[in-house]
Each structure stands twice: as structure tokens, then as C-alpha cells.
Symmetry: C2
Subunit: 356 residues, 2 copies
């Protein structure tokens, strides 16, 4: 299977839904992907089974500081410089590009990076969604040593970090990013195909494409999206209050949605930290991180990013289960509610819904 220019809008819509409000504006990644495909041709999408065991997979993401996650890429040379450094360090070039984070712009931009490098894109990512910190990836949860980060910036600098652990990885990568003008391309955990098994979340590019296509030409986009995601509808209503502040590089805040129609009389409040993290109704928690919570336009079912939440918007909040990896003890320790400062024991969204 290949990803061509005509696939980008669906991929972008799907990545936006999986971004749970964060992960950067998908238009940035889309623009880069379309441009790169036009110049270099369509990108082959491969599975782990298509790669030799010792083939090197490069998980790439654009990072912006101090929030190390989303952001755009300003130059087309960064992937090549990172690939050169990998070849220098490993004695062989990378065989495939992988998205570190399928949610948001970082799910779409790897198509551009793969096209530019003339490499296939691995149908997998490191989150199955979006998360704000570099150690919040499946490779870390799986216990792979966070022993190598390669960064390249628009000026042409290449920085290779051999951190002692994931937290140092985050700290040093962030510092380099800030010094490099707050935007860089990053390869985190260069993996062999053998190492990637069980340590990446497979099939997520295909899933993003399917999510994006579910609403294409649908008579009931919201219903189609809900069915494709297997999502619970938490509320349909109107955004009546949005409180956002940028602190420590994160957009933090709350959004309040008052029910309309069947949901009249209900009020849902949502806690945000770049991504939508916790949905509550009158003290009762309806869904929480690492499960996915996405705000969509009720009419078009298009995902609404945290930064685009506006008073008066007619929205529906959907929630659905995260990848099982995030529900393991180490997964929850890494990206469960307490990792974001919430004094909450994790309960899966499907249980919260069943016992509502």
C-alpha cells in the first residue's frame, strides 16, 4: 500500500481525532506531506513483517520547546542529516521512518520525511495518540533503554544524546530544542525491526486513515466516526466556558460544555494539558487519560484542537479506550492520571460508562 497526495486529507483528519486536542495543527504536517509527495513520489506503507529483523526503524517527531511535542519543520534537510548520523553510528542506513506520535501533526509529517528520504513509512507509532513529553512513548513503557536521541535543527546542527534514562532524555532534548530556536526534528529510540515488536503500537497509520475516511461523504459523520472509533459519546452540547493558560510550556485549562437536545441540563467539564485529559460531570469522572477524549464538531465530526476551542461551538465529546500498553502498570505510571498530577486511580472508560 502507498500513501499518495489524495490520502493526506483523510490521514490528517484521523490524526487530528487521535490527537485528543493536542499534537499540533495537522495542517502543518499535511502541507509538508503533500509537497514532499509531489516532489519525491508516493510513500510505501510497510508492516514490521515486511522488514528484515535487523532493519533500522527511525521514530521521528517534530519537537517544539518548551512543550516537547508538536510543531512544524522549517527545512527539508533535517531528516537527511539524522539519517546520515544513524548510518555513522550504526554502520548502516535506516530502512523505514516511523511516527513517534500518530496524534496531530506528528502523525502526518512523517509521510513528508519518509518521502524526502526515499524510505517506506512503518504502519505504527509510539503512542497511538498524542502525549506532551518525549518519555511518554511505547518504547519507554516496553522497557527499551532510552539510550539514544538524535536531533537536527533548521541551522544544520546535529546533536546526539545518550541519556541515562527517559527523564534525562526529555530534559536534555528540551534544552537543545530551546537553544536551537524552539523547533527541531528528533529521532528517539532508533530500533531494529526485531526490537520494535511489542515496543511500538502497530497499525496506527492505517487506523488514522480509516478514521479519516469514516466521515468522508457520510450522511451522519458523527455516528460514522463514533462507530469507527468504538467511542462513547460523553455529551453533545455547547461550549460555554473555556479557560486556558500557558504555564511551563503547556496549555492548561478547563472547558465547560453544557448539554443540548437529549443532553439538556447536563454539564461536562474537561481538564486540559495540551491534550484533553479528564472529563467530569458533577464530580463524577467519565473518562481519563490515557484513554482518548476528543472534542469534535457535532455537525462535521472534525476534531477540535485544544487551542481552537471557542465559546459557543456546538461540539460532541467522544471517549474511547487507549492501547492496552498504556493500561499496564508501567504504562499508567508513565502516562496515567497521576503522571499529569491528578489524584485519580485509573478506571477504564468502558467501566466508567458501564457503571455510570
Amino acid at each position: 500500500m502507498t500513501i499518495d497526495v489524495s490520502d493526506i486529507p483523510a490521514l490528517a483528519r484521523g490524526c487530528a481525532v487521535l490527537g485528543t486536542g493536542g499534537g499540533g495543527d495537522v495542517r502543518t504536517g499535511s502541507l509538508a506531506a503533500v509537497r514532499a509527495i509531489r516532489e519525491h513520489g508516493a510513500v510505501e506503507l510497510v508492516g514490521l513483517g515486511d522488514l528484515p529483523e535487523d532493519a533500522l526503524v527511525v521514530p521521528l517527531s517534530g519537537i517544539g520547546a518548551p512543550t516537547v511535542s508538536h510543531e512544524m519543520i522549517h527545512s527539508v534537510d533535517e531528516p537527511g542529516r539524522i539519517a546520515d548520523e544513524i548510518e555513522r553510528l550504526f554502520g548502516r542506513p535506516p530502512s523505514a521512518v516511523m511516527s513517534s506520535e500518530i496524534g496531530g501533526s506528528n502523525g502526518v509529517a512523517p509521510v513528508a520525511w519518509a518521502a524526502g528520504l526515499g524510505l517506506p513509512l512503518l504502519d505504527a507509532d509510539g503512542m497511538g495518540r498524542a502525549f506532551p513529553e518525549v518519555q511518554m512513548v511505547s518504547m519507554y513503557v516496553a522497557g527499551l533503554p532510552a539510550d539514544l536521541v538524535i536531533m537536527s535543527d533548521v541551522a544544520g546542527n546535529v546533536v546526539t544524546i545518550r541519556p541515562v534514562d527517559g527523564l534525562w532524555s526529555e530534559r536534555l532534548a528540551r534544552a537543545v530544542c530551546v537553544a536551537a530556536g524552539s523547533s527541531a526534528l528528533m529521532a528517539d529510540y532508533v530500533l531494529t525491526a526485531a526490537q520494535a515488536r511489542g515496543a511500538v503500537i502497530e497499525g496506527t497509520v492505517t487506523r488514522a486513515l480509516e478514521i479519516g475516511r469514516a466521515t468522508e461523504g457520510a450522511r451522519d459523520p458523527l455516528g460514522a466516526l463514533q462507530a469507527r472509533l468504538g467511542a462513547a459519546r460523553l455529551i453533545t452540547g455547547k461550549l460555554t466556558d473555556v479557560e486556558r493558560r500557558t504555564t511551563g510550556g503547556f496549555v492548561r485549562g478547563t472547558a465547560t460544555i453544557e448539554g443540548t437536545g437529549d443532553d439538556r441540563g447536563r454539564t461536562l467539564t474537561m481538564e486540559l494539558q495540551n491534550e484533553n485529559l479528564v472529563a467530569r460531570e458533577q464530580g463524577r469522572t467519565l473518562a481519563m487519560v490515557p484513554d482518548l477524549i476528543t472534542v469534535v464538531d457535532t455537525e462535521t465530526a472534525g476534531a477540535v484542537q485544544t487551542e481552537s476551542l471557542r465559546y459557543g461551538q456546538r461540539v460532541t465529546v467522544l471517549a474511547w479506550p487507549c492501547d492496552p500498553l498504556w493500561r499496564t502498570p508501567r504504562g499508567l505510571e508513565t502516562a496515567g492520571p497521576r503522571a499529569f498530577g491528578y489524584d485519580l486511580d485509573y478506571v477504564p472508560v468502558e467501566e466508567l460508562m458501564a457503571h455510570g
Copy 2:
């Protein structure tokens, strides 16, 4: 020739004199050197001619941020981790350690690093004195590409920077250093012995030892030091005013010395930026960077660091010519008065003295 515990006090005194007020407290480097020699044995001092052409020389320095220059080392593992990274990148281990900066603590500490690695110390450095920024080294002036910096911190992280130029090298190294807790060991410009020829300042460890020994047991320490340095005596007097402020990570300020004895009635003001940079008398410049200006205790001829300047101290200010490398156009561009923000055309100290 070897450097043993008994040589460290003389080396430290010499490095303090060459530090021109900066380069970090030599007691820190001395302590580490004595400890390492006691544990690993004396360190061999070698010249470039003693090394095969392709032998790798590692210029090492402790860096502290935001002032990237002096500072202590907290752990003994950093040199080994840097040596491992060099072996990984070059396919062979380093053959010798070199001081990046002979002035101050960074002139003495390499003895400890060489002892710990079981390697000889090259009788050379990258400055012939002390300077505050990482691009202010002879390798940069000689036009060697500033294409590799390897850093290791006390936590065990190793960061390799491939900067596009010397200024990016400084910027990224500084950022990594701050993130790593404001102290790290750095290898800048890994060189082959062949590359080092003409790009390092040779003989500076021996020179520091000779300077340190000149005052040992001397009846007239000041005279002995002045003769050994070939230094002009700018003034002998009393420190009457010291104004220091730490801005942008630098100690900046001025020191005023009022002449005593033969110099009664004269007043010298000295501009400081970590190092002593410009000495003036009634608007007339007596000496300026990159020539060396050092404040010494008039009685003992021991160098007084910028941070230790105190009201009432009886001091003599000495100035003498820098290495010819710093007087080339590129040398002056890198570390001449204008590189430090002074609107002054460089005039060699011996000319200023002759036409005084």
C-alpha cells in the same frame, strides 16, 4: 617527563598566572590532580612529536554554565565516558589528553583526567591563557571545522554535538550544560596529532610549570615572575575600588588600583569580564586582550583571581604578549578587544609600553 604530585603546586601557580584573573579556581583542579595521581600514578607529558600522526588528541575542559569555561568536576567517570564515545565514533581510542585552556583550573585538572584514563598529557593547550567562550580556542582560529563536541555530566549522560560553526557550538554546549546542572566535562575538537600541528599552542604545560617554579623560594618573587614572563609592570599599588556584577553569566566590572611607592599619584583602572581585559590610566590604554594582564600579590607574586579582588589588597599588575596566533586577523576577530565589546583597535602591549 612526568607530572607527579610534587609538581602540582607549581603547575597550579603557573596556571593561575596564565588565567589572567579567570579560568576557575586552581585549587579545584589541583585537588583532583593530586587525588588521581595518588590512585593511578604519575602522568607522562608528551609533545606532538612523540605521537603517531593519526593518534587522537582529546582537548578536555570542565565547563560551567552559563559561563562556559571554568568549574569543577564532580565525578571521575566523565573522562571515561567521553573516551568511550570517541572510540565509538572514530573506531580507535584517544592517545592523549590535552587541556583546552591552560589558564586557571582547566590547566591543572587535565592531569587528573589523563591519570584516570591512563593516557599521557599533551604539552599544549588551545588558548595559552584563559578565555570565557568555547569558540575562543586556537583550533577555531586555525580554521579547523568546529564539527564535534562531546559532553558528559555527573548523571552519566553523554551528548555529542555536530555544530555548523563555533558559535552554534558555544550555544548548544551551554544549553546542554545548563540542563545538566551547570557543570560538565567537554571534549571539543577531537584532533589527530597531524591536525594539531599549528592548531594548538605547544609547550604551555611546561611553561605553566616554569612560571610556577620561578617564584618558588625566590628572594624577590615578583621580580622572578616578571623576568620569567617577560612582563611589563603596569602598576604597583593598592586596590581602592572593585565593582563587580554578574550579568549574562559573566563577572563584569572594573577594579581601580592606586599606585604606591614609585607609582604614587598614578591610578590604573582595569576592565574585567571574568578575565582581566583592558588596563587604562587616565584614558590611555596600557594593555588589552588578547595580551595577558594578571593581578598578583605584590609580596608573594601569587595570582589574584577576579573573584578574589578585595579592597585594600597590595597588588601589582603585570602584562605580557599573548601567543602570536591571537594577533592574526582571525585571532583578533575571535578574541580581540572588539570581540568583548570594546571599541578599541588592538595594539600589542610591548608597543603600548614603548610609546607610553
